[in-house]
Symmetry: C2
Subunit: 410 residues, 2 copies
């Protein structure tokens, strides 16, 4: 299969929102060849609108490949798949009462391969590596992305290298090693891991699949937006709270909602959900930039939190994240470590989900926004559990050691 | 909602396969009131056949509730749900080559709530407790069942008590405590935990949801059989290898295949899959009874294995398990601890799934049966990953410390 034939015929080009440039798919593409910023896929939405009614999605299964019309690969491309996507959107009646919102939902992502939302992006990045003819993949990771990358690389028969901070929980490292990945531990954060990858894994032998360093992780993550819309019967919530490390999912949902309006899968007139970027007090570069009215974020010094997925001091797609939040009339909120831990426990006790800390952060942020009035009692709200709490037992030990919150079983 | 109205109108009675007795749903039922053996639900399959074509299943969503016609609860019963079932049946091309079978699949159950197949049974048991008006639930567990029970109890607002062996991995215990369950550790195995539950949690205050000690866990587990058939386009595999602790899933699949034949969802003429009960050398009561030609199993003394779900010395439904294996012309196989650990690693390296030890056991058993010729090269085979490897990091440490198996990336 030639490189071009590997791709979806509806996929027209890769565009650069930063400089307005564009490039084709005739050769491997990581970032914009002109300015070095992230590339974003562009599809022929007019043709898809004419040829793919949303009622036909059921023909394509229940996982995220049901949206293959707007994904990068051709129908006959032998994609590596592990059953990613198609996760539940859980109605949270008990927690909605507690948080004071009329209708509360949680997009529960722990059921993905390797137990996190990272599977959505990495399945696309690894298939992209195959389509581009790469011989191995590499990435820095706070944990979950490395595990997802290693899993798909194993299934694809590609070597994989991962660099993670040295205090990454052992579960991630064992999982990556089980998949046969080479794992290196670095002092510092994912930013330092990124520096190691740049030296250790050079092109063209190693294809970099770091966040926004190749164009297809975003395509996988946008399926979150498609699923939420379809699961709500092709309507949208008022507010979505998203835990923001690299921010791919937040930017991806924004793109998905705009695409669905172009496709006629959603009415053009309805307002988009207000996207809320949720971070923690110990690492909140997006919140700081949002509050200061800036269009890009400065690196956060001394980043620290048990929510390892939120310990991203310098998200590469800062400008896109800030645009997505502002253009949807959303906001950015930092929560305290303590509120996050208590929220994890409240979700588990009231709703039976063993969430990751990042999931707890979205509930804690919702409570802040209810207190400030920025989210109203009659709104329909989506929070996120981005992955399993099983990889964060230290955080859970801390959460369970705190005072018992309000009696959940009463 | 009255007790009878809580149940599916197609649900006729609860039968006892051991003594031939039957009872209705007018009052809470644990086991056969006559002989104390397991009860099995009976539906009006003639009416379902007339009223529910299999093509209509899509109307009922993608999780296991799509099979609600053959599940215990009424359509308007406000069931507690967390998105259970609907897990992938993964094609394993690379591993099939390695194992020497034409077509190899893995039913991958880690994507369930609380990351294991136990969710299927416990969602039914907890909803059964609600339907019967129970005020709390209790069970002994090797780990995963306790976590699933605690999750659904939390979501239902019911108190939950769990007794587990004292060497149960900490992940299970933290998870159960996070859900607000009361957890007690006991010396010994799940059999000893069962004795504690009998004293600590007496009826009618506590509803016992131990394996086969109430009728509905089996109904949830049988959805494994429905899903496999539907995912294979309403055909069946030749062989299914199932890791057998309590054996609910094995008996459940057998029931499912027979029900689907009655319903006309499968042709009556096709042979059922040969069901293989997979156990480990350190705890193999079913294998021993099968080999000896017995119809029931004796308790296994000194049970030991890292596959905690297989450390069930005295499965309560031994007679039903042995019948299911024999009537489908299957067999029972014990694998060594070492072969199980190596198989875990091979699955991860070739197929990108971080399986639990019980999952590794099914591949190790397949290799034995290929070597003996009991499974042939041209057959279509299903192995099982019953839950996430994330709860078994000790086993993974052992697996990764062993010699490197054949190079998976070559």
């Amino acid at each position: 299969m030639s490189m071009r034939n590997a791709f979806n015929p509806y996929l027209l080009a890769l565009d650069c929102p930063a400089c307005g440039g564009t490039c084709d798919l005739s050769q491997p593409r990581n970032v914009c060849p002109t300015c070095g910023k992230p590339l974003v896929a562009r599809y022929d939405l007019v043709r898809i609108k004419a040829e793919v009614p949303r009622d036909s999605l059921g023909r394509f299964g229940t996982d995220l490949w049901r949206y293959r019309a707007v994904l990068p690969f051709a129908a006959d491309f032998p994609a590596v798949r592990l059953g990613e996507g198609g996760t539940p959107l859980l109605p949270l009646a008990r927690l909605g009462d507690s948080a004071g919102v009329a209708e509360l939902w949680m997009k529960a992502e722990a059921g993905n391969p390797t137990a996190s939302f990272k599977a959505r992006g990495l399945v696309m990045a690894v298939n992209g590596a195959l389509a581009f003819g790469a011989r191995g993949i590499a990435l820095p990771s706070a944990g979950n992305a490395g595990s997802a990358a290693a899993a798909y690389a194993a299934a694809a028969g590609l070597p994989c290298r991962v660099a993670v901070p040295e205090d990454t929980p052992e579960a991630f490292i064992l999982e990556q090693q089980a998949f046969g990945a080479e794992v290196r531990l670095v002092k510092g954060t994912i930013a330092d891991a990124g520096k190691l990858i740049a030296e250790w894994c050079k092109a063209p032998d190693w294809w970099n699949v770091a966040t926004f360093k190749e164009p297809f992780r975003l395509e996988g993550k946008k399926t979150l937006g498609y699923e939420i819309a379809e699961q709500l019967g092709w309507t949208l919530p008022d507010v979505i709270l998203y835990p923001t490390g690299g921010g791919t999912g937040l930017v991806g949902m924004w793109r998905a909602f705009l695409e669905m309006q172009e496709l006629g899968w959603l009415p053009k007139a309805i307002p988009l959900p207000r996207l809320v970027s949720v971070q923690v007090a110990g690492c909140a570069p997006i919140v700081r930039a949002f509050d200061a009215g800036e269009s890009s974020a400065q690196p956060w010094v001394d980043a620290h939190t048990v929510a390892s997925g939120l310990r991203v001091p310098s998200p590469f797609a800062d400008a896109l994240i800030l645009r997505a939040v502002r253009e949807t009339h959303g906001t950015a909120v930092a929560v305290s470590e303590a509120d996050m831990l208590d929220a994890m426990r409240e979700i588990a006790q009231l709703e039976g989900t063993f969430v990751c800390p990042e999931g707890g952060a979205t509930l804690a942020a919702l409570k802040q926004l209810r207190a400030s009035g920025e989210v109203r009692a009659n709104e329909r709200v989506v929070i996120y559990d981005t992955g399993s709490g099983l990889k964060y037992l230290d955080a859970w030990r801390q959460a369970l050691a705190r005072r018992v919150p309000q009696d959940a079983s009463a």
